[in-house]
Assembly symmetry: C2
Homo-oligomer: 200 residues x 2
DNA sequence: CCCTCTCTAGAACGATCGTTCTAGGCCAAG
DNA sequence: CTTGGCCTAGAACGATCGTTCTAGAGAGGG
């Protein structure tokens, strides 16, 4: 069955796009990295690069989206879960020589004014992450609207920290964001309407 | 003097790169948009696309960096200044059909694993923004280290919100980030070591 | 007047881009 | 055995990429 080839293409493509972005990654480069025959690429993705890109985004989004719940499940509470997630992101980023941050943020910025297809795929992934995250926060006892704002703030802080960290080749921004995110989460759990991410 | 041609090239290049990113923007496209002869491009930027890109980043960074102090000067205090800055960013983003966000964030993500020259230019700009912002916050009475964390958190929140807003074509994330940023600023001014961005 | 230096102007080059096309291998169904 | 599908395989195409090269316009100092 050749479906595993399709798999390899998406896998290799995701790794390349995460590091280089969409525009800088060639379709032939993906085929080579996946050790896939070039013809297969257009067989599995007749829509060409754009379709392949959208599929990579969705696929990487679904995989990366499982990380936050997984970390939460291993943490005693929400606040420590948030702290642990930012800390893990910092470790992983540094270990990859500041290459592996968010798998889709670069594509989101590159495509938002150029390809409606790609932009929509990124938006879809972000929204799924937010919805899933909100559910977890609501389960911890935070009112839905407040929970969503918290999660949007957390995700935004994470994405922004990735931008700064990759540029500076330093984890400072992730550390700051992690501490702030944890504090904001604690405030939301305490029912404060006060300071912190997510007070609207 | 032909230096004004150089100016036009940087101007046009900045506008294109801001919307499309670095990789998707062609050097000939910049020349055409600037109504500059193509030969002039290599005359002014002998280092080719990379040198031009780095110059665009630095130039756009210097210009955009003047915005935050300007907004602050027109605001009664730091907290309202922060709020106003995020609000203005949201208005400008929406008015530009979600095209004009941070002029260098896309380049930062695209280049960080591909071009040391460009990555360094972006890092330089971010660091300058942070340094300048920290100075303003220190002037308002916050201890230096705390001030820097606050500013790093604010900038990260802004950049991340831009990513989410452009993808979603919505200003939600900027609104959340603005409220959180203002609250965190208030907390820092009050000397709280408690919740909010920048509590390390 | 001429020489030099800056800047304009765009043709030309090789490389690479995404895409299309043709051809063959493989395997299950008839 | 033959047919028809999926999938592999890569050559070929036109377009465009960044870069280099040649040539000339224009101004200023000797």
């Amino acid at each position: 069955m050749g479906t595993e080839t399709r798999e390899r293409i998406l896998e290799a493509g995701a790794a390349l796009v995460r590091r280089q972005g969409y525009e800088a990654t060639g379709i032939k480069q993906i085929a080579a990295a996946a050790r896939a025959p070039f013809g297969s690429l257009y067989h599995f993705f007749p829509g060409g690069k754009e379709e392949l890109g959208a599929e990579i985004v969705r696929r990487a989004g679904a995989r990366y989206g499982r990380l936050f719940p997984a970390v939460l499940d291993r943490s005693p509470d929400l606040v420590q879960g948030v702290r642990a997630f930012f800390a893990a992101a910092a470790v992983h980023l540094e270990e990859s020589d500041f290459a592996d941050a968010c798998p889709i943020a670069t594509v989101a910025l590159e495509s938002s004014s150029r390809s409606e297809t790609l932009r929509a795929a990124c938006a879809e992934v972000f929204e799924a992450w937010i919805t899933d995250g909100t559910e977890r926060v609501v389960d911890a006892g935070v009112p839905p609207e407040r929970a969503r704002s918290l999660v949007v703030g957390l995700l935004g802080a994470l994405e922004g920290a990735f931008v700064l960290c990759r540029a500076a080749r330093s984890t400072e921004a992730l550390e700051v964001a992690g501490a702030a995110g944890a504090a904001a989460t604690a405030a939301a759990l305490a029912g404060d309407s006060g300071p912190g991410l997510g007070s609207r």
